[in-house]
Symmetry: C2
Subunit: 768 residues, 2 copies
């Protein structure tokens, strides 16, 4: 099922690559990436191999290299390479005979290890054991240890390592200037300047046994290296440790050079193992509440779920509130590090239920992007806040205007999503509503939420057109989540989401007037809320909301159901290659068929599980799945939830297995440019929102599990109003254990019954 | 002696690498480069290997990527890579077992061939034979053929090749935009935009046996590829040919897309072999007059001399008169493709005596750079034209202000050459005078020469300071050719060269007044020549010209002889590593010792062989050589000439061997970033100006051979007043054979006797 081997022991849960496989090089670089929310480093080898794509990405470090480019997450200087030269032969896995090989990522501790025994061309057998981690204890720290043991003879060893600023984003250099220097013949330092930001890096290396003199330092263009030359003895281990301090200049608490040296000195004092333990302790504390225990699942499934959470941990920009999560996290150049609706709809639920403060953080990001959203609305002739399809650090639209040229016509393909895919502005409101109703965080609403929601609703009113004939508001010429239909009218997902957004805005505005008139008055002055409320009422009365037709099918848009059905769609559903249909049909032809890239109506049904009867939901899920190629990584997990919600757990489980594989399948071309953040969030959602049946409304939390048949039981934590509650689900009963007393009662719905959670710490509910 | 093997047969003279040697990867990429004056391509393998540094450089295509950089020769998109994938295994030399290997450069025809028999990891044995050339027939054309033969089984082969625009100059991207497209499912095209210029590339590939369908085309960021998938049979050869058309937008006669397609269609029609022949015919015609035949020399020496000329051919920008020759030609990023005094003093003599029109071309370049030279003079508070130390395409100063940081102090090292090394302004005048006196090209003088020479002389007058005490002009705070002395006064080389420059200007101005008063008057109006002439007279009367001291030593500058002698200089002379002295001494310490990086007074004696007695010359050459580390590649060849000129042919020959090795020695770090253009010119000069004893004055050509003892005879061509004259030198006699009658008599000096060359085609002079 998944391409990697898995292993579990007292030290953790491991993804393992047992054999060197150049074909999977870029994929495994991504999958085994190490990210601590502050930076992410691809799992390249210490020594160079052919076709590698080294990468380090620092959260929020974006740059626009040229006029015709967009802002992109910068591929930063490489700190991982450790050149080993044995008696003049530069070591590489590619040029050696591999006697032993094992690359392993501990998804619980985030430590990556590479074990090699190699025979060099010069006959030397050598064991090389490398380990590294991106610290969660000090998020500026990356530590790497390489142990080298010659096995069959003595020899001369040269170790060269430093900071290589010659790295680019696929051939585009981002840093306009890079300056390197050495302090005290001990610390290597690099300052790298972007158009606006700068990145500073400092590192120091330690040899064991002690290296008497200081190393030679070599300065090249945009790079600096330390060079250690030493004699090595057969069976005697040499240990090389490198401590790296990484800092983006935009940080508030930045250290000066002396401070950084002290940090590195402390690293040397503590050593790799102590630093690793400090780091691991932070992660273990996070896992305490994040780990999902499932009885009856396979180790592979368990590993894949942990893997998803490992990367969810790694993509969260813990410290910088003005950042969000990129479509590829910090693991690759894909989607240029941009933030999409993925964050609110696919990634946020994990944080909302497990670490609600982090969900708040992701939503604050959108508030900080209001200026860009207002600007986009003006650009397109609308009012209010029209959130961009893709954003980087600030909230400005970053969707490229043109994608790759059509290589046959020579014409550039327009990226229509940036121009016509608008639902993100409702998705954000949906997520804020979910956050607010789950946490009752009024402070968030006052500081950020009301403003965003009202302006979003203002946008939607201006976005709709009034159809005089039908006496209804319509949303025309739009793209829904399914991007294989373009320029359609009244996309069901979009219309319902817009309706929801305006409804929430109306409700909140009316409540605010009562709760906090001063704030309401101020917002009224700025946003003319009283007038808006009238418009919103009209909109809510007259917006066209597609309802199931005579066959119980909710039309995805005005024309979808009249389009041609593609007979051999199964061929494309089974294709290894993504978007294979575009090899046989032009985009325009695909747009004219009942072919979906990804869930669209199904997404709607997930977000509003009580909108239609179970019967309607079921029929629609089946109908649309039959027409869906799942060419988007967002699709399988959406179907898991939908199918679980209607009790089709076996079918759901089939899609769940596919969702688990998205980053770890045996297709070497997938995930080469980064993990699929949303899909990883979707894996968690599949388990908790899908199989565990967790959801919440304004005054209740629902837990209506639909466990797959092979899952005997599962348990996990939810953070409910600040208290961690362990939810244990078995076929017979559900146990809720609060870590401490809740401040006020919480309504819990289990299937059709309601319970109050407050008086006792442990609640047992028998479901059978 | 030289690292490569050599071979000679009826097809040419070959440099051969018999074994794959990753340690020499970058050096051999340089040394085996293929350049046709329009572009140069490093000799990378068809398939990628670790640590390679692919490079293509187009003459005149410079760019300044960032504010703090200088203009540099752009490393252009790669067209050489041909990926071969056999049954899913991507082929690389690094990952295969090499059963046979031979990389060979034919220095006469410029064809590069790589023969491989490899065993892949999947067990397939395959023969891969690749050949390529940069056409001299159509200088926009690069042709490459790869023949693939599976030896032990059938299989599936995928060939991927195209244009890779992700190449950078050591991590600095130069193109602000790159657009790729496919025409007619047949031609791949790339437009790459620099700040000012643009580069267009188009190519087409041909498979043999015929590939039925058109290939798949893959468009990636900044790159485009065609992908051919085919079944291959054991022992059946597949031939893949790629024709590339390369065009810099600055060219006058540029082709449109249809024209380029037609060129490529013609290529397909003719095929690789016919195109190779057309190219070879052009080169053979150049070799007819360039080849030096030496009896008694080794094949290795012959090859090294041909190698020098091969690269001299390749670096000459034949068509664009506003370009000159870079310090590394078109073979690497070293010195950023800048033009130094190297061109006039080391490279020009070959062209002057063999292809005088090309020497004119190189000198015209300086005229076009006058604006930059005037600007530099104004910047520094001088008058006239102060030619920059380093220039790119236009004549503006491009010397970086700062070189690498001092990694210990963290302070940037100033590049003093750009600020204080001024002799280039006299070197250019020297070269123009040499050209004029050799060709009598009055047109050149009227169009370019007078202007440059007068403005240079004006500069030198303004550059000198008048020492009231000593009643003499002095040139203070300067750097001579030897860059291990800085901020010195009255550098002998510079003072004599400045004197020469002003003397020539005065002479020419006075002659012009008589020959062509109108022109003189016009120049007088612009340059105030009458006033200048008075200043020049005063300068010539009173300039301090160092003369031999009581020990017969010409002081290199005012303080050199009083500095400390370095006792263990021989250690550094023998060091493999260049500038090893700077590892033990600071730059300031070196400046304070009698240590020379390169010939300085010796250069002076080469340029003015009759300035002092043979005795003085001899003593000075020995004295200064004892103090010279030869850390500059310009040093050995200068000493060959000096020693040959004083009849020390055995010593000269020892240095000659070292000069031959400069790009081809067994030090893998040398020449990695490009060949040493000046040293290659110096090799030719060593042979012709040194051993053959060729020089000329205003009214004569001197041929006073000093053949090394093992050279029995030699012959070569000189272009004398438009007529090719074959000069055959043996121990007993010199024969001059004119291809046709000379228009007017030419005075020939052979040793101390003068002859007239005109009446008959063949002249025999017995020298013993």
């Amino acid at each position: 099922m998944i391409y990697y081997n898995v292993e579990k022991n007292e030290d953790g849960i491991f993804l393992i690559e047992e054999h060197y496989n150049p074909k999977f090089l870029l994929k495994t670089e991504t999958v085994f990436s190490q990210c601590n929310g502050y930076f992410g480093i691809r799992a390249s080898y210490d020594s160079k191999v052919i076709n590698e794509n080294r990468g380090m990405f620092v959260a929020g470090l974006y740059n626009k290299a040229y006029e015709n480019e967009v802002m992109e997450l910068v591929n930063c200087p490489d700190i991982v390479e450790v050149q080993l030269i044995f008696n003049d032969e530069k070591f590489s896995i590619d040029t050696s005979e591999l006697l032993e090989y094992k690359r392993a990522l501990n998804v619980l501790t985030g430590e990556l290890t590479i074990h090699l025994v190699c025979r060099l061309k010069n006959g030397l057998d050598v064991k090389i054991y490398s380990s590294r981690f991106a610290s969660y204890h000090d998020r500026h720290l990356f530590c790497q240890n390489v142990k080298i043991t010659p096995l069959n003879r003595d020899g001369e060893l040269t170790i060269v390592s430093g900071i290589n600023g010659q790295i680019t984003n696929s051939g585009v250099s981002q840093f306009k200037q890079i300056g390197s220097r050495v302090y005290d013949k001990k610390y290597m330092s690099m300052m790298a300047y972007l158009t606006k930001d700068k990145l500073s890096m400092m590192n120091t290396c330690v040899m064991n046994p002690n290296y008497e003199k200081s190393p030679d330092f070599v300065l090249k263009r945009r790079s600096i290296y330390a060079k250690y030359k030493l004699s090595v003895k057969k069976n005697q281990e040499v240990s090389f440790t490198k401590y790296n301090y990484i800092k983006n200049s935009q940080e508030i608490n930045s250290l000066n050079e002396e401070d950084k040296k002290r940090v590195l000195d402390t690293c040397i004092e503590k050593g790799y193992d102590v630093l690793l333990k400090e780091h691991r302790d932070v992660l273990i504390n996070m896992w305490k509440y994040a780990k999902i225990d499932i009885k009856g699942t396979s180790l592979e499934e368990e590993t894949a779920i942990c893997f998803a959470q490992y990367h969810l941990f790694g993509m969260m920009p813990y410290e910088d509130m003005k950042l969000s999560v990129a479509a590829k996290g910090l693991t690759g150049e894909g989607y240029k590090g941009h933030v999409f609706w993925d964050t609110e709809i696919f990634i946020l639920p994990f944080f909302l239920y497990t670490f609600p403060q982090k969900a708040r953080h992701l939503l604050e990001f959108r508030y900080h992007g209001l200026a860009g959203a207002r600007a986009k609305a003006i650009d397109y002739g609308y009012e209010g806040a029209m959130f961009p399809w893709e954003v980087a650090r600030d909230g400005d639209e970053q969707t490229p205007l043109y994608a790759a040229l059509n290589i046959h016509t020579g014409k550039a393909n327009k990226v229509w999503s940036g121009i016509k895919e608008h639902h993100v502005t409702a998705d954000i409101v949906y997520a804020m509503w979910k956050y607010y109703t789950y946490t009752n965080d009024e402070r968030f609403m006052l500081d950020y939420g009301y403003q965003v929601i009202f302006e979003a609703a203002i946008f939607w009113y201006s976005r709709a057109s009034y159809n005089e004939e039908k006496k209804q508001y319509e949303i025309l010429d739009i793209i829904g989540p399914d991007e294989y239909t373009e320029h359609i009218d009244n996309n069901a997902y979009t219309n319902y989401m817009a309706y929801f957004c305006v409804k929430v805005a109306k409700k909140l505005a009316n409540e605010l007037k009562i709760k906090n008139l001063a704030v309401f008055e101020e917002m009224n002055r700025n946003l003319q809320l009283e007038i808006r409320l009238k418009q919103w009422n009209d909109f809510l009365d007259k917006i066209y909301l597609p309802i199931p037709n005579q066959d119980n099918i909710i039309p995805q848009d005005d024309t979808f159901l009249s389009k041609k059905v593609l007979d051999n769609i199964d061929y494309y559903k089974q294709c290894d290659e993504k978007q294979a249909i575009l090899l046989d049909y032009s985009r325009d032809e695909v747009v004219d068929m009942q072919v979906l890239k990804q869930a669209d109506v199904v997404m709607l049904l997930n977000l509003f599980p009580h909108l239609f009867s179970n019967e309607v939901i079921k029929e629609n899920v089946i109908f649309y799945e039959n027409r869906t190629i799942h060419d988007s990584s967002l699709s399988y997990c959406a179907h898991v939830q939908a199918l679980a919600n209607i009790g089709e757990t076996d079918k759901a489980f089939k899609f769940f297995k596919k969702a688990l594989e998205i980053d770890m399948n045996d297709n070497p071309s997938d995930s080469t440019d980064g993990i699929h953040s949303a899909s990883l969030g979707g894996i968690w959602s599949s388990v908790i929102l899908g199989f565990a049946g967790v959801s919440h409304g304004q005054n209740y939390i629902e837990i209506s599990p639909k466990l797959p048949s092979n899952w005997e039981a599962m348990s996990f934590y939810m953070n409910i109003k600040g208290v961690y509650v362990k939810i244990s689900i078995s076929k017979e009963k559900i146990i809720l254990e609060c870590e401490r007393q809740l401040d006020s009662a919480v309504n819990i719905k289990i299937y059709d019954k309601e319970y109050k959670l407050q008086d006792t710490l442990i609640h047992e509910v028998y479901t059978k």
